[in-house]
Assembly symmetry: C2
């Protein structure tokens, strides 16, 4: 069994992941979300993976770098999807619904609730400025779609209330708090099979969408399925944009 | 100047607060939200207030007790308001709007963004079970009003989608993430003077409210003003309920 360029591993593989860095990220994801970032040492992460601390440092310079990589995972897939959706010919309400559905699915589908780390005070430091900027780029995509969706919904003759177009991004991220409450046992596991579509619906409702959403849901689902399939050439973004 | 039953203070008052415990809570609120709970010691809190560590222990047994008191402050005013609203004769949509408006105003109006502490892993321990239960009681009030509001909005002939009635609570708590983003400089200070009413509107929109909300806003405002005034006997809850 190879473990990449670090030292040979002490034991057989303990964590999910194809590579040692992936195993490190998985172990760190567990420790940061269940024990806390400040309370976790790189030593503990290495122990959990079953590698030497020196081997961990071969892949990540320090604990902050591990956190940066984990946080990046929570945003970059949605950001890529947002950019892909920008190239698709569909109404903004459908694209916003698709982005929200995809994003909630991501935020709730990972092994650890990494979005719960967004509020760490450590994230205000300079080292996390690139991540903060990345998350704000995602927010800008939401705002852009929300502005366009508002025009589609109201016919463009309503004044845009400041803060209104921020709601979809916030509604989507509320999935993080809900997941934390489910995992702590505070609230039961939701009965709804489609929590992502429910939040995506709420994004449009918040903007004033008043009629049934079945049609939007269906189109949003088709759009996401097409994109997941890789498919049509014109759905592919330029490489430099990802 | 008296400082209560602890030792005399070393210096003149440094923190806002009428009593030493209030000053301790204010200093801890700053340190927990800007430096982190795990990274803060009771020694640092005492230093910030300008009292001896032994004096701090006179008021709080340990750091966890300080966090419990801070968290309690974020929920108990809204919980009292929810109970008060239960005694008021008004449509559920108005009461839900009033509760959301009040709650957002509380969450965003305190000196420190204490709601950002909800996702701390430490909160999953037994010591915080009473707080978790308290926050879930508040969530139940939201769900109750949301169910009633749904009936008013749809005439009762729509099936209740699981998760739908959870949305208002989540939309209100999204104010915490927005505030964190504003304080970290990631997003500009909102132009809207009435962020609370905007989120309260979104709570009703998410449930399917389709027509203008000016009337609801006005009634919600009146209700909150009446309640703030202490006023009518029938608005007062039984003492045992608070």
């Amino acid at each position: 069994m190879t473990t990449g360029p670090g030292r040979p591993r002490l034991t057989s593989q303990r964590r999910p992941g194809r590579t040692t860095p992936e195993e490190i990220l998985d172990a760190a994801g567990e420790l940061f979300t269940t024990k806390g970032f400040a309370a976790t040492s790189t030593r503990e992460i290495a122990d959990m993976v079953g590698i030497r601390q020196a081997s961990l440092y071969h892949h990540f310079a320090n604990k902050e770098e591990i956190l940066v990589a984990l946080l990046e995972e929570t945003v970059s897939p949605a950001l890529a999807t947002a950019r892909l959706l920008a190239t698709v010919d569909a109404p903004a309400v459908v694209r916003l619904h698709a982005l929200a559905t995809y994003d909630v699915t991501q935020l709730t589908g990972t092994r650890w609730n990494l979005g719960a780390l967004y509020l760490l005070p450590e994230l205000r430091t300079e080292r996390f400025a690139p991540f903060r900027a990345q998350r704000m780029r995602l927010r800008s995509h939401y705002q852009h779609y929300a502005e366009q969706a508002l025009i589609e919904i109201t016919g463009g003759d309503t004044e845009v209330v400041p803060g209104l177009t921020d709601l979809p991004f916030r509604i989507v991220e509320s999935a993080i708090a809900t997941r934390a409450d489910v995992e702590s046992g505070a609230v039961p596991v939701p009965e709804s099979a489609d929590a992502a579509a429910l939040l995506a619906d709420a994004c449009l409702r918040a903007l004033g969408w008043a009629t049934p959403l079945d049609g939007i849901r269906a189109r949003s689902r088709v759009l996401l399925a097409e994109m997941a399939g890789g498919t049509p050439r014109d759905l592919r973004p330029p490489r430099s944009d990802l």
